[in-house]
Symmetry: D2
């Protein structure tokens, strides 16, 4: 049994952590840190999860956090960075859902988040919390940077083909659509009902913070694959286009890439099935089933469809199209964070994540 701290429980990812951890059989106590002004709100929220667990609201600087086994940060960027060092010294593990430890190059952090990085050593130490790529590293990590919602979908979608060195690494395209909860809980005119309902919007035309994160991780996969083959030194090129769909939850990513000439006859679906065959939270969709975000609402599963689309007059095209759907707040954030916690503490990876989708 482990004790858990959560910093920032009033946002969407914090709430989702509470929803999931409140049913987690290996979690004993949950300490939710809040500022004095926010505490009543937190106590109200906690009350709705009442009965099943020992919940308490504590000060932002409470010693209770230092006594936890693990502390989750569901905070705006900049917060985890400040708190990490002292918690680690107390032997507390850290799972950060913010962007603070995602970008390995501190210069990129300044560029995209307009903030100097104060913990460059911890940045080096931090593991990127994507179990399908870093499960072994996570087992012994003290500090984990959870991937963003878009990066989870895009990286899992390109990974099998990149790893197997099957595609042109320069021509990766990710066209992504997200529900509005991805924009967070702060009221903005752009996320009002009147602005979002009956509207589909493209945004981030000149750049989006998830681009450097996806690029970094895909580039690492490409580098490893290059090393293995000892052949060419491929470079990585990625187009990433975020869009806002009029719904609360869900991300759909449609990915485009090109098989290398010599690998044209590969069975791409099989590549995915083999790569992910032991993964508890990845499902390769059978032919004929359309990828849809409602099928993963509220659950930690990513569903993937792969195909070779119609492209031109020839029968032989090298194009591959990959569809990925996830719940941005579950596999794209808090569910994956609990999955990572399970790995870090040697628990069964699916504990607390046997969730059922609400249909309809």
């Amino acid at each position: 049994m482990i004790d858990v701290g959560i910093v920032g429980a009033s946002g969407y990812t914090g709430l989702e952590l509470l929803r999931i951890l409140s049913k987690h059989v290996q979690v004993e106590k949950i300490f939710v840190a809040a500022s004095a002004s926010n505490k009543n709100k937190i106590l109200h929220i906690i009350k709705s999860f009442n009965g099943s667990k020992s919940f308490s609201a504590v000060d932002f600087d409470s010693n209770k956090l230092n006594e936890c086994d693990v502390v989750f940060f569901a905070t705006p960027h900049g917060v985890a960075m400040k708190k990490a060092s002292s918690l680690l010294k107390s032997g507390v593990k850290i799972i950060d859902l913010s962007a603070d430890f995602r970008l390995k190059n501190p210069k990129e952090y300044i560029k995209w988040y307009e903030l100097q990085h104060s913990e460059k050593d911890l940045l080096k130490e931090a593991t990127y919390g994507l179990p399908e790529l870093y499960r072994e590293e996570l087992k012994t990590s003290r500090i984990v940077a959870m991937p963003g919602c878009y990066p989870t979908a895009v990286i899992l979608g390109f990974y099998p083909l990149l790893k197997a060195n099957l595609i042109n690494t320069k021509n990766l395209i990710a066209d992504c659509k997200s529900g509005v909860s991805g924009a967070g809980k702060i009221a903005k005119t752009t996320t009002m009902f009147t602005a979002v309902s009956e509207n589909f919007t493209a945004y981030g035309l000149t750049g989006h913070r998830h681009w450097p994160e996806i690029y970094q991780e895909l580039d690492l996969v490409v580098s490893k694959a290059n090393l293995q083959t000892e052949s060419t030194t491929n470079t990585t090129g990625l187009l990433f286009s975020p869009h806002l769909a009029p719904m609360i939850r869900g991300i759909e990513a449609t990915l485009y890439c090109e098989l290398n000439e010599e690998t044209l006859d590969v069975d791409v679906k099989k590549i995915f099935e083999q790569e992910y065959k032991s993964e508890p939270f990845i499902e390769i969709l059978p032919d004929g089933v359309n990828p849809e975000t409602s099928s993963v609402r509220g659950i930690n599963t990513v569903k993937i469809a792969v195909n070779r689309p119609i492209h031109d007059k020839t029968l032989r095209s090298n194009r591959v199209r990959i569809y990925v759907v996830e719940d941005n707040l579950v596999k794209g954030a808090s569910g994956q964070a609990v999955q990572v916690m399970n790995i870090m503490f040697g628990l069964k990876e699916t504990t607390g994540l046997e969730l059922t989708s609400l249909i309809p």
Copy 2:
């Protein structure tokens, strides 16, 4: 003043034609053809447009249609094909919103619509009703095949760069998202509120009827451009991915392509602005404005944004990204059909199309 017939007014594009034509100052009488069983419904619909025009519901085979100046078909495929010849003989012009005269190769028609084409001569004669590409031809056409909703957006998005021979014609990608009205008015489980709300779906994974149509038109532009430059013979390659967004109206198309090496320094936005500078229904968005479907809801305008997205570590990438938004029932169907009618009859092209978007 012209007299107009509409066959198939109970579907969405038919209703939209009524909405627009009922305010068209150059239209005198409107005859709406319906089967006996549908007539009451049609009369009820017509009543809601009452007062402003002379509307009448007529039999499907009424002679009144033969006395019209123009007849619109807003019918399932197969209907216009049967009726076209006799109407043309009576001197009636035809604007067909169905797919019957879109694909110039009858073999493609059988392949995608599972129906033998019975009017191959008319097929040859028919003009593709996209004013921005075929305005001159439309002025003298007797029979016009209106583009599908997706094709309108995609073709207008790629056209300026293809025409100017600036991009790699083999690598065209169109990632498109549509509101549910595109699926028509027939009740299906996939278009029920419980299936669509809070859901984003990819469909048409193995092919979609709009692919051959888009491909045909883009390929024609490529061929013409090839001829002009007398240089290389480029081939056309197109990936097209339709998606369903939880909203009633609107299409957003995000298009990807690559500038040729020698044209890397071109100002792509300027190309669009010049190509479309006289177009009454195309607006190139200024930098900083996000393309959103609600901005064109109910109006005939297509809005386009163009940019050079972040791609890799170099500062010099050849990628271009184009965003197009339209109302699928207006510029994507009935509004464009009225625009074409205006051209065919020498009227001011914007007549009846001075529409205002409902915001919010």
Copy 3:
């Protein structure tokens, strides 16, 4: 031809005024007043209505307003009150869409709007802008208080039966449901997409500003009816329950009342048909048609259904149920304001209001 000023064009009712007035054939110039900081925004908005009218953005205190024939206030409460007097002195008529001149008793204004009323004489002079009740008075009014969105629906629903002295005036119940645009354009957590979508909320449990307004008007109708019959002195009792529905536009009001014993055999639908038979913007629905807000989206029409619902084991119940649907931004605000302008200036009442609903 008249010149029109609009103060407060960036909110929803201001935008809707622009949408409607931009097509009004009797309006020549439109001056939109905005603070310096808001002017660019206004200019951008105006640009989208370009071509059809002479639009200009002016200072909040511009002399141009004093040269208008009429000035609309689409402002928060408190603004029109300050500006009214000086405009009237310049001979400008005033149509106020805010609450400043709605409540005849200044004490009620303080109570519900927490603001002292500074123009008690103008308050006495102001006409309540509901044409169906006050058409004659409006013809000669200098200053008009436009009804709120809920009051328009509720008053029009109860009016015919109250006027005819047919119902128990103590037992009026109005259960109302509104789209989110009624809450205005300011970003609040309660009107975010994530809070509203897939949610139906009751609010205003302890009172709502539209209660005193509806009560005042119904009570006036009751008093007049009492006078006419010279019989009993009925008192007025009204329950009003507002609810928020997950949609942008539309109000549905379900009204409940009881016929007096001696009037049990009256044909209630006929009462409505006769009362409203000359009204250009009221439609009594035929039996079998469900009242739905989408049927009035974007148009100035109110649709009303009346019936005698199942109530108990007897066949003879005195209960009446009235359903009213309207577009809260059109007949519930800006459309009705233009209707009032037409009346004030002796124009055809429907001018500029020949609107067509967008379906679907």
Copy 4:
């Protein structure tokens, strides 16, 4: 541990039963009955609940159902009636979510469901499955008629005041709003996305099948209360107005009634708190919290707010307003059915119903 059969698992209430029972720790085997044509679909659905339980798809007439401890019917009306007798003979208990055993008077059944009732003895035996009213009876019932979704909300809302003989029983009004899932899973034009989104509709103007059901149960409460007080013989009068809101799940009921003269000073909220103080699935909302359907999405809790609304110029009004929110598919259907099963089998009443709402 009990074995459970489900007849009709492809509709929404059937699916919801599967969602809930698949996590029920006291349920061992689940047999899902389906016609041959539907079996594949059912197997596909069952697969998604895989791992946690022993699920099997069986024939509609399978003997396996006769070996279950309890069989749920989630079928259209008419089916349970046919099957009930033989199952009961095999010692199987029956929980019927359809309307077959709700109306105690077979004449009412014919009138509202247009079907002769073939099991009048069982009809007499059947208990109405509302635990808050019939918990004791349910403990020994063999056959239970689950309440409809609207009746659950309305009856629970009026019950405390009727039971305590505090209100005028002739003047009960229930204004109800439902999400679209209440209309079932069959595709109809009225439940398409294009018909429902951005639309609020009143329906059932001339009567709704839930009226006789609510009336019957409220009338029974009134009769009992009459007996207790031995005083007046009150009669029951109920207006019931169903509406369709543009959302998938949820019912909100706003109820109106009048306190008797002698009970004007009663603390109505306290009456509710006392009546329901031991109820695991009823929560009386504190003042200041708005009743909203999203707060009960996916959970078995009913939330109730009570107040004395503003009514007229006096400070002393006898009106009471009650708000009830529930998830129509959980407490309004399948969750309540599992609650009833727990009672029938002497299990802890909340087993399997410790559900968490998905927010946002």
